[in-house]
């Protein structure tokens, strides 16, 4: 028999600190948005609505307060008492909305604790308006009390159906980020990217009163260029998988010129989407397919975009982790998808090599193929449809030589300006100045 006992109960302070430590502010807001969207999906199913039109989430962030307000059906009293305020999802939690994106039952608490210290949550449903409730949390008080409880007060919802969370007395770091317009506009941009497919289905999100614009993912489709498409059901996991990849931008002319490569590369790479939520964006690492037995990402591949959609009624089968912003790349359902993703990439990588020697032609073919939104790309075949890329006839053999030399950057930028494009790549500067010399000083 044990002689002594060591008490291992966590203090609430420790607990709050732990759950809020490894999450970013933008992720907090995403967690709360995920809840709203879950609610909207559940509600629209109950009401047999075709999409998410009419549902909204309004987010307000300022130096002094945070608020998210939605009309996504609200929380029932039972759900609130048994699940929403419980830390960690109980194993007997009911089946969630079809294709739900929420899963772990910790998002809301973690998010609000991270944001501030005085929290008010109100929720009301249309089915049971008399069960509308409000929870007031003073984090300091709650942390000081021994009970792991939240008090739910009954309220009169009037006509309100939905959930409203407001946080005051923001944490210091939160307040200063929220007061920063750069943070706010970046958030708006990121929400447009990560929630693109919900916005597509009619869901509306406003941040500080301004509607978030959907970032429309697309790939070029035309006579000589068409995307890779493949759709299948992963029978073991029961997960539907859809893969689309293709040319979205213009590959760089000169990937050896660092000055032209550092900017605006975040759009390229692989995107992983679970139940319409973009989980991983523009990946260029071994998390997806790059490196190891496949070529590592190289700036030469700029312009490539690939999207994999995983969807399932059981969110637990999808390859994501608790934060929903990271994939669990070890899951078999994901491993199995990577072999197709590699097929969906390889041809493009080769193309970036061949296009170098046929640059003018490649450019004209590329620009003649318009970028088509992903939602408009139909997948008709059961089998993978390979990517279509321009094929170049071998040009008549002309013996070529390479000219390469260095010049001071300050001179190069002056030349670029006088050529009419201050951002011109060094390679182009060389090309253009050479052409100019040939034209003016050298006879045919």
């Amino acid at each position: 028999m044990a002689q002594w006992t060591a008490k291992a109960d966590p203090t609430k302070d420790f607990f709050i600190d732990m759950i809020t430590r490894d999450i970013g502010l933008d992720e907090c807001i995403f967690d709360l948005l995920d809840n709203s969207i879950d609610g909207a999906s559940r509600h629209s199913q109950q009401q047999n609505r075709p999409d998410l039109a009419g549902y909204f989430a309004d987010i307000l962030l300022t130096e002094t307060e945070f608020e998210i307000k939605d009309n996504c059906g609200g929380m029932s009293l039972l759900d609130a008492r048994e699940y929403a305020f419980h830390f960690g999802r109980r194993s007997d939690a009911p089946k969630d909305a079809e294709n739900s994106i929420g899963l772990y039952g910790i998002g809301m608490k973690r998010a609000i604790f991270k944001i501030g210290k005085k929290i008010v949550i109100k929720s009301a449903t249309s089915a049971a308006p008399h069960e509308a409730f409000q929870v007031d949390i003073d984090v300091a008080e709650w942390a000081a009390s021994p009970e792991w409880e939240f008090q739910l007060e009954q309220i009169d919802p009037e006509d309100f159906v939905g959930t409203e969370i407001s946080v005051k007395e923001l944490r210091k770091a939160t307040a200063s980020e929220f007061s920063d317009q750069i943070f706010v506009s970046k958030l708006r941009k990121d929400v447009g990217k990560y929630y693109s497919f919900f916005l597509q289905h009619g869901f509306e999100i406003k941040i500080n009163g301004i509607p978030v614009k959907q970032h429309v993912y697309g790939v070029r489709e035309g006579e000589d260029i068409a995307p890779y498409t493949h759709e299948y059901t992963d029978s073991e996991a029961g997960v539907k998988v859809r893969i689309i990849s293709g040319v979205a931008g213009t590959p760089p002319e000169d990937s050896g010129d660092p000055s032209t490569l550092s900017k605006d590369t975040e759009s390229w790479g692989w995107y992983i989407i679970c139940n319409d939520r973009v989980v991983l964006a523009g990946d260029k690492t071994e998390k997806t397919i790059w490196g190891d037995d496949f070529p590592s990402w190289h700036p030469q591949y700029n312009g490539f975009v690939g999207l994999v959609f995983f969807s399932s009624e059981k969110p637990g089968e999808l390859p994501w982790t608790t934060t929903k912003r990271q994939i669990d790349e070890t899951l078999p359902v994901f491993r199995r998808a990577t072999s197709f993703m590699k097929d969906a990439t390889r041809k493009y990588l080769d193309y970036t090599n061949t296009r170098k020697t046929n640059l003018d032609k490649a450019k004209s073919v590329e620009s003649s193929a318009a970028i088509r939104p992903i939602a408009e790309i139909k997948i008709s075949s059961d089998r993978p449809v390979l990517m279509k890329l321009p094929v170049f006839d071998d040009a008549p053999k002309i013996k070529m030589g390479t000219v390469s030399y260095q010049q001071p950057v300050s001179v190069l930028s002056k030349v670029a300006q006088s050529l009419g494009n201050s951002q011109m790549s060094y390679k182009q500067i060389g090309q253009k100045t050479f052409e100019y010399y040939v034209e003016n000083e050298v006879g045919e």
Partner: protein, 318 residues
Amino acid sequence: MASFEAINYSLRPNKCVERKIIFETLVGLSSSFDFSKYQYLGMGSMWFVDFVLAHKSLGIEELVSFELAEYSPRAVFNRPYKNIKVFPGPVSEGIEETDWAKPTIIWLDYDCGPDNPAVFEDSATVAAKISSGSILMVTANAHLGRIPNKDTEDNPLNRHEGLALLLGDAAPSAEEFKHINQKNYHNVLATCLTRHIERAHRRSGRGGKFISFLNYYYKDNAPMITVGGMFVNEDSEAKLRQNRCFLNSEYIGPALYPIQVPPLTHRERISLDALLPSTEKLNEEEVFKRLGFKLDQSQLDDYSKFYKLYPSYGEVVL
């Protein structure tokens, strides 16, 4: 515009007025802050006009001018005082070698715009290192033509895209500034630069904040903006907020203060001076009646506003 209304660029009267305003303001603040113990860092070029003011009117003893290595011997030759050190090299290196524990007044006086990444990068580095009670001013070119209209692959860019290419996250959003044009670009750029400075300071984890209050806009030829202010902790913020000049000066505020002085001959100037100060506005017709020449009402207004700061130029035969 008639050619005599164009400004002799080498004289830059508006720039001169701005400099006077800034140093007049700093002198006003010096009743609460002992600037004589500060260091002054700037880009004195071959003329060191601001260094002379920093030394003479603020009593600063430690002065460093950043000058490209190539020109630094000439700058050393031209420095008006021997306590001005010339740092030979790019500003970014000068910033690395500076002792930031010492309170500082730094004026990054660029003539380029955000097309030169140094403008935003150097401002952010300074903001991340500077100590409280210090002052940062950044001058940059706000000419629309400096926004790239093509990317590296020659694809056309609109102004938002062009600025995004240069500034990344610091670029203005289309939600906030629907259009970027001649009319608002100086404000757009000033807003972006100020936010960039605030953000860099906040993220440096040094505590305190940036109070932006030295903000000017003028056009000698190219439109130029200056944004600036003080990095404060609680103590220095309290001192600043009680300072009489800070509370009362019309040259202090978060919005760009427009500086515009009309080009006048010496004779015109002294005649107008003789009518000033006046409780009544100088009036176009009144001036014509009394002096026999015409100036636009707007020019008269501008002159009345800045007559005390108006520079006078003359040739000296040595």
